[in-house]
């Protein structure tokens, strides 16, 4: 175990890494704020002040007592602005946003559809479940067991769904679609790991390690160190993204089911947001670990650190470009932010069984990790001639 610590100290566990991390965290926040914060700040004041002032009067369990005055006000605003003749006078005493048209947008364009979604969601999911049941019966009747099982799975997942409370879930658009931090993770991985093996050669330590008979255990320690680094980056940048979403938009309803967010209305998963975030960390970890092991391998076969860095960046660039042409789960970059895999019901055929694509992606990442671990252990840089 001690040797893993020293491998961390050699590669990424140092002050320079911390400094770069702080700089990239600030960059990440600026990017997140630029993406979403501007809309709410401009439309509804600092941190969506006006939005949350109204939201707090209707959030939580949906009841007629709560909704009736909201509905009445929304209808009144709609009538007042429908002829496009309305006052532009700033009246913060009358309107949340200070303007009648601003409040019209707040009530009818932003919050009303959100409440409506929560209230009517069971209809959406019941319809999906009903369609799935119909398909199940059809494929069962024609003897297609695979398709029948797939739709049986879908039926179980989508039946009896409810959104118990109305919560502000617009932060999910920022958090679950924010892939800038994934790019930063890749940069951190390359800067931290590209010299893992080349450093031994350049410092002359390769021969000392080889003569001690500890080449293989050193390699395994480097792999373990890379795993710790990937876990740290996964947790850190997920937390940073969540913090950015909270500062920019306000995070609410972490205990609500995933399909509470409209972007996930067709998701097969019933996890809560907090459970999903933990799952995201796990998926991100495996995706980053695949990339990390590839960087380690590049370091092992490179004659020096510069070549290793160039190879690693080249590899990352190719994979990023490939994500634009293919959504294959073989590409770890497609699952670093696995949102697309969770938005829709999608399965792959594994030995005749339908498996949700997200689970298949995780299994595939684990296999890729195992193969790359073996490659790093048995191929490449030799101290022995």
């Amino acid at each position: 175990m001690k040797i893993v610590y020293y491998e961390m100290r050699k590669s990424w566990f140092k002050i320079s890494t911390l400094i770069i991390l702080v700089i990239l965290t600030v960059l990440n926040f600026i990017q997140a704020d630029g993406t979403c914060g501007t809309y709410y700040n401009k439309t509804y004041g600092k941190r969506g002040e006006a939005y949350f002032a109204l939201y707090n009067t209707v959030c939580g369990e949906i009841s007629e007592e709560k909704i009736a005055p909201f509905r009445e006000r929304a209808n009144w605003l709609n009538n007042e602005v429908s002829d496009m003749v309305f006052s532009s006078e700033y009246r913060p005493d009358l309107y949340y946003t200070g303007y009648i048209f601003g409040d019209f947008n707040l009530y009818n364009v932003d919050i009303a559809p959100e409440i409506s979604y929560c209230a009517t969601y069971p209809n959406i999911s019941d319809k999906i479940a009903a369609n799935a049941a119909e398909c199940f019966h059809f494929y069962k009747s024609v003897g297609n067991d695979y398709e029948a099982e797939k739709y049986a799975m879908a039926y179980k997942m989508y039946q009896n769904r409810q959104i118990p409370e109305y919560r502000a879930t617009h932060w999910t658009n920022l958090f679950f679609n924010h892939d800038f931090s994934s790019l930063l993770c890749i940069i951190m991985l390359i800067l931290g790991l590209a010299n893992s093996f080349t450093n031994e050669r350049e410092s002359g330590m390769l021969q000392i390690i080889g003569s001690s008979g500890k080449s293989k255990s050193t390699t395994l320690a480097k792999i373990a160190s890379a795993a710790v680094y990937c876990l740290f980056l996964s947790v850190y940048f997920t937390a940073a993204d969540l913090a950015a979403a909270n500062i920019t938009l306000g995070v609410d309803g972490l205990d609500m089911p995933l399909y509470s967010a409209k972007m996930f209305q067709n998701t097969p998963f019933s996890f809560s947001f907090s459970e999903t975030i933990l799952l995201w960390i796990a998926v991100k970890f495996f995706a980053l670990f695949v990339v990390a092991l590839t960087i380690l391998f590049a370091s092992k076969i490179s004659p020096n650190t510069i070549i290793s860095i160039v190879l690693s960046f080249g590899f990352a660039l190719v994979l990023i470009i490939l994500t634009a042409v293919s959504k294959s789960i073989l590409n770890p970059f497609n699952i670093i932010v696995p949102t697309e895999l969770a938005e829709e019901f999608s399965v792959v055929n594994i030995f005749g069984q339908p498996v949700l694509t997200l689970w298949a992606a995780i299994i595939l990442s684990v296999v890729e990790c195992a193969v790359l671990c073996a490659a790093n252990t048995f191929i490449g840089q030799k101290s022995r001639r």
């Binding site: 100290r9 050699k10 350049e202 000392i208 001639r385």
Partner: protein
């Protein structure tokens, strides 16, 4: 304790780097002398396990004849170590690498650093060390685990005279109860501290013995004579000249050859440099 090398051969492509090398080492300091490409690094590689010999065996045994494992300390050429580590941290890493657990780790490390005159480096990073300090740190890491065999490959290359003397003194003190093999082509390093000398050339052991035994073999073949300065170049092209001292219009020449090279030439006592010149044709 014994290190036995039996019929070790290693070939790289068409070049035979080591040819049927056999020798038994006991406690003491051994100087491994040879020109570039003689096979010194290959021999060291087979002992340390970094080079897989084509045939032959390398065996460490203790006093009772039992096999010894992990009892080797090695200082290769050209070490810069991990620049962001301090010396104590680096030695702790080496303790972890060699899986050696002394009773009091801090005391063990500070004693080791004192032994190699690095006791006052504190938390200074290795990247700020001079060449001599790095070499001494190299000795310290080689000593971790109380090895029975110590191997130093060109340890004084690039060191100033003061550092080389300091290094030699440390090595001398280590050879009393260990096998110390010092591979170098700097003859003066061997002259002062080696108990026995191995001469290696083109992968073959040319000679082996104490300094006295080896130099006695070329008694009567080392000459000193005076010549005109303008004849020096011609003489150097014909004879193996180990030294030229200018005395104005004349030069004093020290040369190695079987026959008397000049009428005024006198035999002088040979030294190790003369042996190298005679055996290898170069220094």
């Amino acid at each position: 304790m014994e290190l036995s090398i039996r019929n070790v051969t290693k070939t790289y492509g068409k070049k035979r780097a080591l040819s049927n090398f056999s020798l038994d080492f006991k406690a003491g300091v051994y100087g491994l002398l040879g020109p570039n490409g003689a096979g010194k690094s290959t021999l060291i590689g087979t002992i340390t396990g970094l080079v897989k010999a084509d045939c032959g065996s390398v065996l460490f045994t203790d006093e009772d004849g039992n096999k010894l494992h992990n009892k080797l300390g090695y200082l290769p050429q050209y070490q810069s170590y991990y620049k962001n580590y301090s010396a104590p941290e680096f030695l702790r890493y080496m303790l972890a690498l060699k899986n050696y657990k002394p009773e009091n780790t801090s005391k063990y490390i500070s004693d080791l650093l004192e032994l190699v005159n690095l006791g006052d480096v504190g938390k200074k990073r290795i990247g700020t060390f001079s060449g001599g300090m790095k070499q001494r740190l190299g000795i310290a890491q080689a000593l971790i685990g109380e090895p029975s065999v110590l191997i130093f490959d060109e340890p004084t290359a690039g060191l100033d005279p003061k550092e080389r003397v300091r290094f030699r003194n440390i090595i001398s003190s280590l050879g009393s109860d260990r096998i110390v093999i010092l591979a170098t082509h700097i003859v003066s390093d061997i002259e002062y501290i080696a108990n026995e000398i191995i001469l290696l050339n083109d992968g073959v052991m040319v000679d082996f013995g104490t300094q006295r035994e080896i130099t006695e073999k070329i008694d009567g073949k080392v000459w000193e004579f005076v010549c005109d300065s303008h004849d020096v170049l011609e003489i150097m092209s014909k004879l193996r000249v180990s030294n030229v001292v200018s005395m104005g219009e004349q030069c004093k020449i020290r040369a190695v050859c079987d026959d008397k090279p000049s009428a005024n030439a006198k035999n002088i006592a040979p030294d190790l440099e003369d042996v190298c010149l005679y055996s290898f044709g170069e220094l």
